[in-house]
C-alpha cells in the first residue's frame, strides 16, 4: 500500500461529531418542535450566507483530518517490506503539496519575487554585497519581475476567475436542476423563482455566496501556484498554507470542546433527574470548578500534560501525536471551564422534562432509570448541546489565540492562528513592517468568527422567541 492511514484522536472525534450531527438532523426532521426553529434559521438570508462560508471552512477542516503516513521508497525491493515515513500528512497536505514544499529562506512579502531581507551575497569576483536576493520559488518564472509581474498577475487572475466562474455556473445549474426535480417544477421556473428570491430557503443568497467563494478559491489556487499570495514567514514557509492549515485547529477547538465535555455535561441531566444528593454533589463540583479562574486552570492543566508527556516519551512517539494529544487536552480543559453553563442548562431542561407526561408514564410503567434517561431524556436535550456548540464556537476560536499568547495554547508545532499572531507580533517592529502574517491570520480568523457569530445570532433568535418579534 502506498500509504498507511493514521487516525489521530481528534480525527476520530471529528468524525464522531459529524455522525452525531447527521443523526441529529435525521431526528430533528421528524419532530416538529425541534424543526420549527431550525426552519426559521434556514429562512434567514444572513444565516444561510454564513452557512455556506462555514461549510467551506468545514470542508477544508475535514480534508485536513484525513491523515496518513506515506510509504518510503523501498531501500531494496526484494523483500517486499514497506516502511512508512514518520511524518503524518493529511489529504489537504497532499492537495497543497506545492505550497508545503516550496519553502523560501526567510520572509517575503505577498506576491514578491525578491526576499524581504537583505542578504550578504558573494559575487563571482569575490566581493560581498548585501542585496535582496530573488526568491527560489515565488515569481521564479519571471525574467524581469519589475516589468512583468503586474501583467502576469492580471493574466493569471483573469484566467482563474474564468475557470472559477465556469465551475460555479455548472455546479449552480446542477443544484437548480436537482431542486427542480425534487419540487417537480421545470428548470426555468425554478431558476426564476430562485433568482427572484421566491423560494422559502434563500437559495439565491447561497448561490451568490458560494459563487464568491468559488471565484476566490480558484483565484487562490491559480496564483498560489506561481507566487506566495500571502507571503512567507520567518523560515520561508508559505503563509497561505499556514493559514489554511490553521483552519482545522480552529474548528477542532471550536467544536470538539463542546463534544468532549458532553460526558461531564450529562452530569447535569443526572442532577436534574435524580435531584437530592446527586444534585448537591454535581452542583458542588461545578461551583468549585467554576470558581477557579479559567486561564489559570488551563495553564495548570496544560503544564501538567507537558510533564506527563515528558515523563512518558515512549507513549507519544511522533510529533503529530503529541501535538494532537495536546490539542485534544486543550479542548477538554477548555470544555471543563465552559462546561458549567451547559450542565446548568441541561439540569434545568431535565427538571422540566421529568415532569412531562411521557416521562411520568414511563416511570409509572416501571422503566429503569437508565432506560428513561437514555430513551426519553437524552434525545430531548440534544438540541441544547447543539445550540450551545453553535453559540460557543466563535468564543472558543478567539480564546485559542489568547491562550497561545499566554503560552498555554496549542503545541507550538501545530499551525494555528494564535501561533501565527503570536509570532507576527514580534515582527511589528520591523521596518518596513512584516504585516502579512497578521493580515492572513486576521482575515481567516475574522471571516470564520464573523460567519459563526452571525449564524449563531440567528440561531439564538430562533430559539429565544421572546426577543424575536419586538
Amino acid at each position: 500500500m502506498p500509504f498507511q492511514p493514521v487516525i489521530l484522536w481528534t480525527d476520530a472525534l471529528i468524525f464522531l461529531l459529524l455522525a452525531l450531527v447527521i443523526a441529529f438532523i435525521l431526528i430533528a426532521r421528524r419532530r416538529e418542535h425541534l424543526r420549527a426553529p431550525w426552519r426559521e434559521v434556514m429562512r434567514s438570508k444572513m444565516a444561510m450566507g454564513c452557512l455556506v462560508v462555514l461549510l467551506a471552512y468545514f470542508t477544508l477542516g475535514l480534508l485536513d483530518s484525513l491523515h496518513f503516513r506515506p510509504a518510503l521508497p523501498s531501500a531494496d525491493a526484494s523483500n517486499g517490506r514497506v516502511d512508512y515515513s514518520t511524518e503524518v500528512l493529511s489529504v489537504l497536505d497532499l492537495a497543497a503539496a506545492p505550497l508545503r514544499s516550496r519553502v523560501e529562506k526567510t520572509y517575503s512579502a505577498p506576491f514578491a519575487a525578491y526576499s524581504y531581507a537583505r542578504e550578504t551575497v558573494t559575487r563571482l569576483d569575490g566581493t560581498q554585497v548585501r542585496e535582496f536576493p530573488r526568491l527560489q520559488f515565488g515569481g521564479a518564472h519571471l525574467q524581469d519581475p519589475a516589468a512583468e509581474r503586474g501583467r502576469d498577475i492580471l493574466l493569471r487572475s483573469l484566467r482563474a476567475l474564468l475557470v472559477g466562474g465556469i465551475i460555479w455556473l455548472l455546479s449552480g445549474a446542477l443544484l437548480v436542476a436537482l431542486l427542480a426535480r425534487r419540487a417537480n417544477t421545470p428548470f426555468r421556473l425554478m431558476l426564476a423563482n430562485i433568482m427572484r428570491g421566491r423560494t422559502a430557503i434563500p437559495w439565491h443568497v447561497m448561490l451568490y455566496t458560494s459563487g464568491a467563494m468559488m471565484l476566490l478559491a480558484a483565484w487562490c489556487v491559480a496564483l498560489s501556484g506561481a507566487y506566495h499570495i500571502l507571503g512567507t514567514g520567518k523560515v520561508g514557509q508559505d503563509v497561505f498554507y499556514e493559514a489554511i492549515k490553521s483552519i482545522r485547529t480552529g474548528l477542532v477547538i471550536g467544536t470538539l470542546t463542546t463534544l468532549v465535555t458532553l460526558p461531564f455535561a450529562m452530569l447535569g441531566v443526572l442532577a436534574g433527574y435524580f435531584r437530592g444528593w446527586v444534585d448537591d454533589v454535581v452542583q458542588y463540583v461545578y461551583t468549585t470548578l467554576n470558581s477557579i479562574p479559567d486561564v489559570l486552570l488551563i495553564a495548570a492543566a496544560i503544564l501538567m500534560l507537558q510533564v506527563y508527556m515528558a515523563n512518558h516519551p515512549d507513549q507519544f512517539d511522533t510529533i503529530a501525536l503529541r501535538a494532537d494529544v495536546r490539542l485534544l487536552f486543550l479542548c477538554l480543559i477548555l470544555g471543563i471551564t465552559s462546561w458549567t453553563g451547559l450542565a446548568r442548562l441541561l439540569r434545568g431542561e431535565t427538571l422540566k422534562l421529568r415532569e412531562m407526561d411521557y416521562v411520568q408514564a414511563a416511570v409509572a410503567l416501571g422503566a429503569g432509570h437508565a432506560a428513561i434517561i437514555r430513551r426519553h431524556l437524552i434525545p430531548n436535550v440534544m438540541h441544547i448541546v447543539l445550540i450551545t456548540m453553535v453559540l460557543s464556537f466563535s468564543g472558543l476560536v478567539l480564546a485559542e489565540a489568547v491562550l497561545s499568547y499566554v503560552g498555554v495554547g496549542v503545541d507550538p508545532s501545530t499551525m494555528s492562528w494564535g501561533n501565527m499572531i503570536n509570532s507576527a507580533r514580534l515582527e511589528m517592529a520591523r521596518e518596513p513592517m512584516v504585516w502579512w502574517l497578521l493580515l492572513a491570520a486576521f482575515v481567516f480568523m475574522f471571516t470564520l468568527v464573523l460567519a459563526a457569530n452571525l449564524f449563531s445570532d440567528k440561531v439564538r433568535d430562533a430559539f429565544d422567541p421572546r426577543l424575536r418579534k419586538l
Binding site: L72, A75, R81, D83, S85, T86, E87, V103, K105, T106, A117, R118, E119, T120, G126, T127, Q128, V129, R130, G233, K234, V235, Q237, L303, Q306, V307, M309, A310, P313, D317, T318, I319, S404, G407, D411, P412, S413, N419, N422, S423, R425, L426, E427, M428, A429, R430, E431, V434
Partner: protein, 718 residues
C-alpha cells in the same frame, strides 16, 4: 454629544497640561528632563542582588555598580587586563609545598601544595550611607533589634530615618568569603570554591551544624567561626590560601562573589520583621561602589543614585590603540562617575523597548533580528554601520564578539548518537556538516555571529585564527576562507555510519533522533522548524521534544536527553573556563558538572589536567591545539557559534565601549542631557489629525440616528 466633546477637550488639556512643547509620550516626569540621568531597562526582575548568590548577567548589571571586589578589568584595554579596584596593588601568589615551605615562582605544579594570596586594600574607602550602620550616641546600633513599633511604618529601606557609614576593612572581604559557605544562601560557586579554598568545605559543614543551634537563629554570626584558608592579617590586609596552583583566582577576585559585605548589614537584614517585608540583603545591597540602589520596585522601576561617600576614581588615561581617535580618552583623568542617576524601567517586550529607544527614551539598545535591517547597513566590505535613518538621528553602532559559545550537543551516553565508537562518531560528524550554522546566523542573527570552529571564542587565549584554527571535519579551506563541506560528504559519512539515506541499514527503519529543548515560544518555532530542515537534508527525522525548563534541566542532569542546545558565557577570559566544558570528570550526568555532553575521552582529560593551571604561552597553546584536534574528531558538540554583539548608542551617550568581562562600566559613561531633551522634542511631535478624523467619523455615524430621532419625535407616538 456636548458631554463627549467636552471629555475629549479635557483629555487633550490634561495630556498637554503644563508641559508646553514637551512631547506627550514622554514616559518620565517633567522634572527629570534636564537631569544627568541614564535611562535603561530590565526585562525580568533580578532574582538575587546578594553578591554571594547572584550569578546572572542582568543581576550583575546592577550589583557590579554597587559592590566593589578587590580587582576589576581595565575598561579600555584589550585583551582584558585585570587592575586593582579597592586593592592597593595586584596581589601576587606565593607557592608553598606540603609542609608550608615557600617555593620559587617557577616551581613545577606537582610540587605546589598551597598558594597564598595576600590582598591589601586601600584605606579610607567608605560604605554608602545605610541604616545598618546607624548608631546612637553611645555607639549602639539603632536598628539591629527592631521592635514591632519601629517596624510599623517601614515599607522600604528608605523609610529608616537614620543612616550611618563606616570604613571598608579587610575583615569585610573575609566575611563575604565565609558567606559563600552559608547554608541558607546556596552560593552557586560554593561547590567549586570549596575544592580550592583551604578548609571551605569543612567550614560549610560546620556552619550547617551551627545553623541548627537555637542561638544562631535568625542570625548566624560568621565572625565567631574562623575559616582556615581565609584570614584578615590586619585592618587592611587579608589572606586567601588555596590548595595547589590556581591562577584563575585572580579572575574570581574581580567578580562580585568576592566583594565585601559588612557584618552589620548581614545582622541587620536577618531580623525576621524585615524579611517579612522583603527587606533583605538580597534586595537592598550595601556596598562601597559609585552607585547605590535607592529605589527597588522590580515590578516597575529600579533606580541607582550616586553614592555620596564614593572613594573616588578617575577615568583611565590609556587604552588600546585607536581609543583616542574614537574620543574614548577625552575624559581621561576626570573623576568618576559622570552620571548622577540611572533609571531602569521594566520592559518585558522587545518592541516597546525598541520603539522607545527610537523615540529617545532609552539611551542605548541592542538590536533584535527583527529590526536589524532598519538599523544596520552592511557595506560592500562586509563592515556593519548604522543605516541612513539611524545616522540621521546620530545613532552609533558598536560591535564586539561575545566571550561565549552556544552549541548543540550530543549526549555521549546515548546508545545511538553517543559513545566513542566509529559508527557514532561518523553519525555525529555527518550531522555537524548538515546543520548549516552559516545559514542560521544569516536568518536568525542577520550575520551577527561567527560559526565556531571549536569551543574557545575569539579574544580568549587559545583561539586560533585562519586555516590552522579551522575544524577540518566540517570545513574545507577554500580561497582563503573556510567553506562548509558539501552535503554529499555528510551523506557518505552517514552511510559509513550504517544509516544510508537516513535509514538503519540493518532494520531498514528510518532513524529518528530526538531534540530536547525548553524552547516553546512563538519565535522558537521558526528555529525548531529550521533545525528539522537541517536534519532532513540527511533524510534524518528530528523529533522535537519540548518540555518546560525544569524538566529539561532534570533530563540533562539524568543524562536522558539525546540532542540538545546549551550555551556558555565566560566567567573569566581563560581557556580553562571553556575547555572544562568537555572535561570527563566534569560530566553533568555523573558529577553534576558543566560538561553537559558527558564527553569523556581519557586522552583529552589528561591533557586538560596539564593545561588548566599553566601560564599562557606557546606550550599551553600547543596543548590546547592537541585537545581541540581530539574534540573536533569526536564531535561531541556541533560547535555552534559565537555571538557578535551589536549595540546602538544615541549621540548623547559618551564613552561607550563594549566590554565582555567588566560589568561596572556605568561609572565611565557620560550623558549629554541637554542634547537629549532637544532631540526628544524634535522626534515626538504628537500627530492629532487622526484623532479628529476618528471623531468626525463617529459623528457622521451617529447622524442618521439623530435625523431619524427628529423625524420620529415629530410624528405622533404609535
Amino acid at each position: 454629544m456636548k458631554f463627549r466633546l467636552h471629555f475629549v477637550l479635557c483629555l487633550c488639556a490634561a495630556l498637554a497640561g503644563g508641559c508646553g512643547e514637551r512631547p506627550w509620550n514622554n514616559p518620565y516626569p517633567a522634572a527629570d528632563d534636564a537631569q544627568n540621568i541614564l535611562y535603561s531597562s530590565f526585562e525580568q526582575r533580578p532574582k538575587h542582588l546578594d553578591p554571594a548568590q547572584s550569578y546572572v548577567e542582568n543581576e550583575y548589571a546592577l550589583i557590579a555598580q554597587i559592590y566593589e571586589p578587590p580587582l576589576q578589568y581595565h575598561y579600555l584595554k584589550r585583551p582584558y587586563t585585570l587592575i586593582p579596584l579597592t586593592a592597593a596593588h595586584m596581589p601576587k601568589a606565593v607557592y608553598l609545598d606540603r609542609d608550608n615551605r615557600p617555593l620559587p615562582g617557577n616551581a613545577a605544579p606537582e610540587r605546589i601544595a598551597y598558594s597564598v594570596y595576600d590582598i591589601t586594600i586601600r584605606p579610607g574607602i567608605r560604605y554608602q550611607p545605610h541604616p545598618a550602620f546607624a548608631q546612637d550616641a553611645s555607639g549602639a546600633y539603632l536598628y539591629h533589634a527592631l521592635s514591632a513599633a519601629q517596624l510599623g511604618d517601614i515599607r522600604t529601606l528608605a523609610d529608616f530615618p537614620q543612616q550611618g557609614a563606616r570604613e571598608l576593612v579587610a575583615a569585610d572581604y573575609v566575611y563575604q568569603i565565609k558567606r559563600l559557605a552559608h547554608p541558607g544562601l546556596h552560593s552557586p560557586i560554593f561547590g567549586l570554591m570549596s575544592e580550592y579554598i583551604v578548609g571551605l568545605k569543612q567550614y560549610g559543614e560546620l556552619l550547617s551544624r551551627a545553623a541548627k543551634e537555637p542561638g544562631n537563629r535568625p542570625y548566624l554570626d560568621l565572625d565567631r567561626y574562623p575559616l582556615e584558608g581565609v584570614t584578615a592579617l590586619d585592618r587592611y590586609t587579608y589572606r586567601i590560601k588555596l590548595h595547589g596552583k590556581y591562577p584563575q583566582l585572580l579572575y574570581w577576585l574581580a567578580m562580585p562573589f568576592f566583594a565585601p559585605v559588612p557584618h552589620e548589614a548581614d545582622r541587620f537584614y536577618s531580623q525576621p520583621g524585615l524579611i517579612e517585608k522583603n527587606i533583605t540583603l538580597d534586595w537592598y545591597p550595601a556596598g562601597t561602589g559609585p552607585y547605590m540602589l535607592t529605589e527597588n520596585n522590580p515590578s516597575q522601576r529600579m533606580v541607582l543614585e550616586r553614592n555620596p561617600s564614593f572613594h573616588g576614581e578617575t577615568y583611565p588615561e590609556e587604552g588600546e590603540p585607536g581609543d583616542r581617535e574614537r574620543g574614548l580618552l577625552d575624559d581621561a583623568g576626570k573623576p568618576l562617575p559622570f552620571i548622577d542617576k540611572v533609571v531602569y524601567s521594566l520592559e518585558k517586550e522587545s518592541i516597546p523597548y525598541w520603539n522607545k529607544f527610537l523615540q529617545g527614551y532609552y539611551d542605548a539598545s541592542g538590536i533584535s533580528s527583527d529590526s536589524f535591517d532598519q538599523a544596520v547597513r552592511v557595506t560592500t566590505q562586509g563592515d556593519a554601520t548604522v543605516s541612513e535613518a539611524m545616522q540621521e538621528k546620530g545613532i552609533r553602532l558598536l560591535t564586539s564578539i561575545g566571550a561565549d559559545i552556544s552549541y548543540i550537543g550530543f549526549n555521549m551516553l546515548d546508545p545511538v548518537v553517543g559513545g566513542l565508537s566509529e559508527r557514532a562518531r561518523k553519525l555525529r560528524q555527518a550531522i555537524s556538516i548538515a546543520v548549516d550554522y552559516e545559514e542560521f546566523i544569516s536568518i536568525f542573527l542577520n550575520g551577527r555571529g561567527i560559526p565556531a570552529q571549536g569551543i574557545i571564542p575569539p579574544g580568549i587565549f587559545g583561539y586560533v585564527e585562519g586555516e590552522a584554527g579551522v575544524n577540518p571535519h566540517v570545513y574545507d579551506w577554500v580561497n582563503g576562507r573556510p567553506q562548509r563541506k558539501a552535503i554529499e560528504t555528510a551523506r557518505r559519512l552517514l552511510a559509513e555510519a550504517g544509516y544510508p539515506d537516513g535509514r538503519d541499514a540493518r532494520t531498514g527503519k528510518p532513524l529518528l533522533l530526538h531534540f530536547d529543548t525548553a524552547l516553546r515560544g512563538p519565535d522558537d518555532k521558526a528555529y525548531l522548524d529550521w533545525l528539522r530542515k537541517q536534519f532532513q537534508k540527511l533524510d534524518l527525522q528530528l523529533d522535537i521534544r519540548n518540555t518546560d525548563f525544569n524538566r529539561f534541566q532534570e533530563k540533562m542532569l539524568k543524562g536522558s536527553a539525546q540532542i540538545w542546545q546549551w550555551g556558555w558565557n565566560a566567567d573569566y577570559p581563560d581557556p580553562e573556563n571553556f575547555m572544562f566544558l568537555l572535561y570527563g570528570p566534569n560530566a553533568k550526568a555523573v558529577k553534576n558538572g558543566e560538561n553537559a555532553a558527558n564527553y569523556d575521552n581519557p586522552e583529552f582529560n589528561k591533557l586538560f589536567e596539564r593545561m588548566k593551571n599553566m601560564d599562557n604561552g606557546p606550550e599551553r597553546q600547543a596543548i590546547i591545539h592537541q585537545m581541540m584536534d581530539i574534540a573536533r574528531r569526536d564531535a561531541p558538540l556541533l560547535w555552534g557559534l559565537h555571538r557578535k554583539k551589536f549595540g546602538l548608542y544615541h549621540a548623547w551617550y559618551k564613552n561607550a565601549k563594549p566590554n565582555e568581562m567588566a560589568n561596572n562600566e556605568l561609572k565611565y559613561v557620560r550623558i549629554d542631557a541637554e542634547l537629549r531633551s532637544r532631540k526628544r522634542a524634535e522626534w515626538n511631535q504628537p500627530v492629532l489629525t487622526p484623532l479628529f478624523i476618528i471623531g468626525a467619523l463617529l459623528l457622521a455615524g451617529l447622524l442618521p440616528a439623530v435625523l431619524r430621532y427628529l423625524r420620529k419625535e415629530r410624528s405622533p407616538a404609535p
